[in-house]
């Protein structure tokens, strides 16, 4: 299990380094960087490459935002396999709803209980 944790650390860290390079060398804004990573995750799953990465690195592959693109594609492909054309459209959020619903929910709760701490550098 220790080895798995170390692998998660290294793989997750490396994905973040790719993001940092996109921002520093590619001069991209965070929004552009994250969008590119999400698209990359979606494409990797198209080639059946992201699931092995998850098997290998565990949270090192599921925590970075790339996994969001992966699970969207995964849902779409799984449904397409079953239902054909229509499945591509309907399967999308089958696997990934938790990230978005959690973000919306905790965003709302956050807005209810917190106030911008604001000015500390």
């Amino acid at each position: 299990m220790f080895v798995s944790i170390v692998i998660a650390f290294i793989v997750g860290g490396l994905i973040c380094v790719i993001g940092q390079l996109l921002m520093d060398v590619g001069k991209l804004t965070p929004a552009h960087t994250l969008s590119i990573l999400v698209v990359t995750g979606a494409i990797l799953d198209g080639f059946n490459l992201y699931e092995p990465l998850i098997d290998f690195a565990g949270a090192g592959a599921t925590i970075p935002i790339t996994s969001f693109g992966n699970s969207l594609t995964h849902g779409a492909i799984a449904e397409a396999e079953k239902h054909g054309w229509i499945g591509v459209l309907t399967g999308m959020f089958e696997v990934t709803s938790s990230g978005i619903s959690a973000a919306i929910l905790f965003g709302m709760i956050g807005a209810l209980i917190f106030r911008s701490k604001g000015q500390q550098p």
Binding site: M1, S4, I5, F9, G12, G13, L14, C16, V17, G19, Q20, L21, D24, P30, A31, T33, L34, S35, V38, V39, G41, A42, D45, G46, I54, G58, A59, G60, T62, I63, P64, I65, S67, G69, S71, L72, T73, A76, I77, A80, W85, V88, L89, M92, S98, G99, A102, A103, F106, G107, M108, G110, A111, I113, F114, R115, S116, K117, G118, Q120
Partner: protein
């Protein structure tokens, strides 16, 4: 002075970001976020009825909960300034983008302020995720139908 000349002058004086240092920081912090995620996954597998496959969803939700606390107490922006992509790329960064927008626009009311702006920053991630997933799945479906590829 023409713009090109000025740009050279300006760049010779402006400090350059240390890319190596930034990458190291991103690696370290990003790695720590993923390690925490891995530990949470183990907790869900050990103490609840989740398999490796299904533990992903509750783990992501828990990470976003952590992001809410860090954002609410004003810590996430400090981590972000230090770590750059190390805190932006993990799903907690997605959570921070959503939650910070929600807190920020609270003064404009819950419907138009929070509701209308909650995806101001994170929306593009969802949009591009969905569009690219659609295209990838569609291409794959076509290729499989043509018999060029397998599922």
């Amino acid at each position: 002075m023409d713009p090109k000349q000025y740009d050279n002058l300006q760049q010779s004086i402006s400090p350059k970001p240390s890319i190596l240092k930034n990458c190291l920081k991103a690696f370290l912090v990003g790695g720590i976020f993923c390690t925490v995620g891995q530990l949470i996954t183990y907790i869900y597998i050990s103490y609840f009825n989740f398999t490796e496959k299904t533990a992903g969803n509750p783990t992501v939700a828990t990470m976003i909960f952590i992001a809410m606390l860090l954002t609410g107490f004003g810590l996430y922006k400090k981590i972000g300034q230090f770590a750059g992509a190390g805190s932006a790329v993990p799903v907690t960064g997605f959570g921070n983008a959503v939650i910070s927008a929600a807190i920020e626009h609270k003064t404009e009311g819950f419907v138009l302020g929070v509701g209308g702006n909650i995806f101001k920053l994170a929306g593009s991630v969802i949009v591009f995720g969905v569009v690219s997933a659609f295209v990838v799945a569609l291409v794959k479906l076509i290729l499989v139908t043509m018999g060029v590829a397998n599922w």
